[in-house]
Symmetry: C2
Subunit: 291 residues, 2 copies
């Protein structure tokens, strides 16, 4: 249900921009967004909007779309040769592999613009919500503490692992939950902790899977993040510590859901997402393997 | 006066984002914006806002800032090795030359985000103006017909020269004039033609200067645009035709200024900008040289 709502909102948004656009740019943008991953960020946005009454569903849809498009934009630019030089993404060619580097730069740029434009276009019926809502989304992706800033810490000689992860992943997760509240006319602040903890859990899960993907690295501080010189909790503190932190963050995220009608649904979403990220069986097996 | 207002608004906006940001990213963003070029787009925005009453000066400032930051973002990404591979911009090192390719990609991304965020932050006192204003600015830079789309036409096998120039330059000029009107609570549409014609004149002037910069190319269809495989009116139709078109566009821009109290000032701005772009003496000398 939420999944169909998100896919339709994304399709609608890109459809409006594609007519008359250079065909390869439109195709590259579409390639960056479909087929998607788990769409966890827009799911969070919609779940929080529902918990807050969802009285402006078009604005909640736009907030979900904006957060997802900004995530997709960051992946496209992150895959570029000057960053990760990744040829694959979500099982298909990365945008620059399929369409070339120039169109990948432009598709990422276009996605950022479309994200904010989608918010503005959906806000005609409740314009008084737009300034704070847009600021929240912008803070999740820009300077000083959003995704772009997080990514830029990779170019600095000294990085705080916690700050790096909080900005590169946590900031957009926090924007996702807070924007859901604001789109529905609710207060954003009570929803920050849920997003931040889930975002941090997500980043730790990424580090864990990076190590687990290569069984011979189990428990050893090595992996793709290390090869790329990226800060990683699994490589810095070891796998058992990372697994314990993951569990703490997931529990903390569930505990951070404010008391409201939709709380049980949101806690269930947190638990199912944790299971998808690092299945419980895998967590236990990994801890035994390094014991 | 307008110049100081623009520089201060730009400084303020970047200052708010820089605190706590990765230092190199903040420096790269600043490098992309200061020292500036002629700041013609934000000047237009403020001039039109004044002609429409300028009753929300902070919003007009933000519109001017947004348009200029989006212009700067497009220059940073345009200079990247995969596009123009330009080592110099405005007489100093381009952003990627000074800070590396990764920070140049990120600085461009950050500038796009900051542009829209600046609009949102200034709109608290008049939120009902924000949806249409933001949409106007987004249309000037995004898909289907903004700067990013214009740039993407360079990756297509067939391009209409007119559409290419209209999107790559005219669209943001049109957004600059229209946003000025909307920031002041005015109607945008009457201000479109002024921006579009001035933008087109600007692009033709660029083509002309590209040819004139190398005297031995005078009147010959060759130059940097040609070397890069870019559509150029000066190379496609010859210098005399380009010079005549420039004159037509400048006259058309001045004629497009709607009847209003600020009209004489705006027409004077158009004329002084034309003189700055291609001085009348140079136009006459060039026409004589190829006669």
């Amino acid at each position: 249900m939420a999944h169909a709502r998100i896919e339709n909102a994304l399709l609608d948004t890109l459809g409006h921009c594609a007519a008359g656009s250079p065909p390869k740019l439109a195709a590259a943008v579409r390639h960056a967004v479909f087929p998607g991953g788990a769409r966890i960020r827009p799911q969070l946005t919609l779940a929080v909007a529902r918990a807050c009454g969802d009285d402006q569903p078009a604005l909640a849809d736009a907030a979900a779309v904006a957060v997802e498009l900004l995530h997709c934009a960051s992946l496209v630019h992150d895959d570029l040769p000057c960053f990760d030089d990744a040829t694959l993404r979500r099982g298909q060619a990365s945008v620059h592999s399929a369409y070339g580097e120039r169109l990948a730069v432009l598709a990422g740029d276009a996605l950022i613009v479309i994200a904010f434009q989608a918010l503005a276009r959906a806000a005609a019926a409740a314009p008084e919500r737009l300034p704070a809502l847009l600021d929240t989304v912008a803070l999740g992706v820009g300077m000083p503490c959003g995704i772009v800033a997080g990514q830029a810490w990779e170019c600095e000689p000294r990085v705080s692992l916690h700050e790096y992860q909080r900005q590169k992943t946590g900031a957009l997760f926090a924007a996702a939950t807070m924007a859901g509240a604001q789109a529905a006319g609710g207060d954003a602040e009570p929803w920050r902790a849920l997003g931040e903890r889930l975002g941090e859990a997500y980043q730790v899960a990424d580090d864990i899977r990076d190590v687990l993907a290569n069984p011979e690295w189990l428990g050893k501080p090595i992996g793709r993040d290390v090869a790329l010189g990226r800060p990683s909790i699994a490589s810095e503190q070891g796998l058992p510590s990372a697994l314990r932190q993951f569990q703490r963050l997931v529990t903390g995220a569930a505990d951070a859901v404010p008391t409201c009608r939709g709380a049980p649904l949101l806690r269930a979403l947190v638990r199912s997402e944790a299971e998808r990220l690092v299945p419980r069986a895998m967590r236990q097996a990994s801890l035994q393997a390094v014991a």
